[in-house]
Symmetry: D2
Subunit: 339 residues, 4 copies
């Protein structure tokens, strides 16, 4: 499991886009320790390029969030833990797109929260990227307001093939990761996912140049992305739900409906993690978490909603998760970035 | 409406505790501009003083969160806006208490999310305050772990009398504010509440020495608090739901069940506010908010859940809300703090 | 506690209408065993009399469901059980009204399930009553369809004063009963409510000439009603949530949000009731209930949603609840009806 | 598309059990009009045969509800409507099983409604079938109570392959039907499902000898079943969500979380259906449905919850859905039953 600094580059053709977790043959086989540089198209498969490109004409919600992958990780077996460390996320274009899609999003009725009302207007916004200032530009369509917002690249989807032979749309977040749509999935984070099938079959996609917590209208500043990722494998130890780690936090992500269930899942997962990290009784872990949780919403718009629970390391005694994998990957990432 | 720098001090006797919003006669009449220094007891009316004080013996959930108030604000009429600026929140004791109360909290079944399972253990934790280091001390009960956590005082409840003649328990957050239980209600924030009855009849209470987002176990580090507050009145302009402002953010608080409805409420309120602040069309405000929202959960444990939506001022053009009331109160607060 | 066959008649003036549970002085004091004949106005206080009377002009949602009452029941103390037997419900007019009220109802966004969409059209439907055929007439407004529907009178609201000093809008159902809006509250049923305050302070209102399960649009065929009711008092034995009994069923009503919580409440209450009626272990009661539950939705439109759980007596061994109160009241009702 | 009265019999071997909708090759190809007689194993794959067979040892929730199928229907294309008429459902054994499975069911915390509480006891109940009296026998385990309940056979799962290449566990109900778990899926009903893939690929399973509405504990009286079914195909006309028809009712089934969303889906589908059947404006259909809906819960225990909306034909003018398919299939069923 020693890593290589050779970087495997991969850019899918449109024919290679995958719109599910599970159900697709691997596009590559890689060994643990590999460093990948992956291009991913935007959530709309590049269909929205101007404010006159409207979703009702150009977007089919069954085929969004095109995935780059899946990758077969040699040696990965059910019950193992896949570690994906995001070294860097770089916008692959100088513009991103967002849209109000009829009956999709958080402040509209949807196919699930069904009402008899008319949809909100179908609208598209284009954000221009200033690569020097590292900003994207919001431009109002019904008035003159223009706002320059910091570029904060993240990945909407990171996931493996689900358990039980299921195949899920790349719009769905669940135990297998998937469309979690949290700004926490940014450069510097390590994502730990339980492996459900031989080879794990992970994929990534749905780059966001920035996104608010909750992803209110259902779409972020969606953009093609070049992601540099280290892939590692830990035998055994699969977490029940996605766990993340960055230099400042331990994080868990729960995904379900209603939103309180997404929260409960992530909280119970964090209580479990704290009992493991610190040898705490679950009641003490529950109490401690009650006083330190940071809980930024991820999304309230997908097939399942996602909520992040964070525990700030600086508040807690030093501890090591997954045998120190995050720190090790951070060190390797430095080497990769140095070239 | 000029304010006075004379500070009105008030400490209720136990007989003066109020456990509702609405339904109680005013304890004092004050004029807009008044500065109050209010002592409030802890959520448990001081009943939990050691780890052997258990909630099933000492806490009646119908009588928690004792309020200090209500205060009748001269000139306040339905449709007006009450502005409460929190100048400072200082712990009034050197210990706080938290508890796992049977069938109360976020990671247990409750009287609402009813199941047939046994309750979690009834436990109490006592946190000692270090006034020099400004920390509170978590001490595990089933192991040796001890963690020193920063003191971050906040108020769990700030509210006015509800509309329509309703009287609500001080455990409830809703349009009238109430038990919102968000760490955002800390020193430096101005809270804007719509007035529903003559005199507004506001009260505060439920001091927390610190609290995680979500207040997972149902109780924060509960402690008696001395709150210094400026009270102002704005004629008209009542927001539909509580709005907050601090130097860095505009904030709204939605409270309901399920949790996504609490979120929707706060988001729609913020869209409305952005349309007012910037003359934006609601669709542009929706789009902009989608990319900048910060959404820390407040609580997932009360009779209604609460979710905060924040918009960071530094991301936006300068704007003035409520005729600049927050900035004015900040200035006055400096004078008060200087004595 | 012997009842009198003298019937106490009461029709409130508009000035006597009460729009809350709790918070109003009793309109009458009565003794247990009393028979009351009560007139109640329709939910809209008679404001909608033709299809051109629209809710936005004539209805204030803070003042709907005018209650007839409250009545002070001599001897009723907290912890007792109030039994209200509905002998007969007779429409007091030859027309009823229903409405689609903007942002109110089940298939629209609301003030809680808030979205940015426009409201559905504000519309009123008038139903004419055929007293001989005992039907009400639905008349489509955008086409010719006319449908004659059976008259099935019921009460939307039956409740007592809440606990803890709360005062709740007559739009709200909860532990205290209130706006449960279930078609099960029809002639022949006995409603058992826990008493929270001296005198119980019950009221009734919100007559429906018929209502579908769920009350989809938020309003039934709303009509003035003459209700004949026997009031009885059982010392002690207060159920946690409303229990109902008719000749065929034991019933419980849970009210909360989200809808699954309303269901869980009613189910747990019924499991408890079955353990009491049959000496069952809770796990056996849970299993048995799983195979026999009938669960008609009550409403998905009020401040809390309500779900009924029914257990059919004919499937179960004979059993007696509340010392046989329902059968006794049925017998007394026969005498009252005979005059 | 003329039907044949020859009956195609099929009993899968254990190796042929399928635990998903989608993702499995067809077991048979059939022509529209075919009559099938299908044996299906019980939800537990026969693993629970006595009260000492416990789910934690013998049941893997990833492999329950074994499906009989899938069947490829010649000529079925996406956008078509599959009609499955249930002629008869006959228990294939003289016993059924039910279980309280740890962290599964409605009155316990689950993997979604996650709490820190201990699970309810793992228990199994065996119901003996009296084929003459057509009853099943409930036997309490912690007391002597025994209750004879009417046999009311139904199918928990009826579904087609999902859209968008998804593969879903046979525990899941959604647009494609699946594990709807409603007692309405009994002999005499026609189930209309939108076709998503060539051949439709439908399957059935999860026979219940009876089930309460809501399926509270998560399992019905689970039993092997012999189902006689007519399969028909309607070109085009795919409903968005499952529609059912029996001699007395039009029915729709919505499945989602929270429970109110499942209800909203089914209600909007029924409003749509009523506009089609009667040429009604959607607002008139909404109003009419509000006064006539019957809404029995289906399940509050599966990965999605399901709610049925029923409109009673006797309340409405005569109308014909799907070109009279249900009546035609009823007539054919009579011929089949006559042999």
């Amino acid at each position: 499991m020693t890593g290589s600094l050779d970087i495997i580059e991969f850019t899918p053709t449109a024919q290679q886009y995958v719109f599910t977790f599970g159900g697709a043959p691997p596009i590559r086989r890689i060994t643990p320790g590999s460093v990948l540089r992956l291009w991913s198209d935007d959530a709309f498969c590049s269909a929205l390029r101007s404010v006159t490109d409207l979703s009702r004409e150009k977007v089919d919600l069954r085929y969004v969030n095109p995935q780059t992958g899946p990758f077969y990780v040699e040696g990965a077996e059910p019950g193992d833990t896949l570690a994906l460390h995001l070294i860097s996320l770089e916008p692959a274009r100088d513009w991103g797109a967002s849209a109000s899609i009829p009956f999709f999003g958080g402040l509209t009725s949807t196919d699930r929260t069904a009402t008899l009302q008319d949809p909100l207007p179908d609208m598209t916004w284009i954000y221009h990227l200033d690569t020097v200032r590292r900003t994207v530009q919001f431009q109002a369509q019904h008035s003159e307001l223009s706002v320059e917002l910091p570029l904060e690249p993240m990945l909407g989807t990171v996931g493996v093939a689900p358990a039980g032979g299921e195949v899920r749309s790349s719009l769905v977040p669940d135990r297998f990761g998937g469309n979690m749509d949290t700004p926490q999935l940014r450069a510097g984070v390590t994502c730990f996912l339980g492996v459900n099938v031989e080879g794990a079959l992970f994929s990534i996609g749905d780059g966001h140049y920035r996104q608010g917590e909750g992803e209110s209208c259902g779409t972020a500043v969606e953009g093609a992305m070049t992601s540099t990722v280290i892939v590692e494998l830990i035998k055994g130890g699969a977490p029940a739900w996605p766990r993340l780690e960055d230099d400042e936090h331990w994080l868990t992500v729960g995904s379900s409906r209603p939103l309180e269930d997404a929260w409960r899942i992530g909280q119970v997962e964090m209580v479990t993690w704290l009992t493991e990290l610190y040898g705490l009784h679950k009641m003490d872990a529950y109490q401690l978490l009650s006083q330190i949780s940071e809980v930024p919403l991820a999304n309230v718009v997908d097939a399942n909603y996602s909520v992040v629970t964070k525990a700030r390391k600086s508040l807690l005694p030093a501890a090591v998760a997954f045998a120190g994998m995050h720190d090790e990957l951070r060190a390797r990432a430095v080497q990769v970035l140095r070239g």
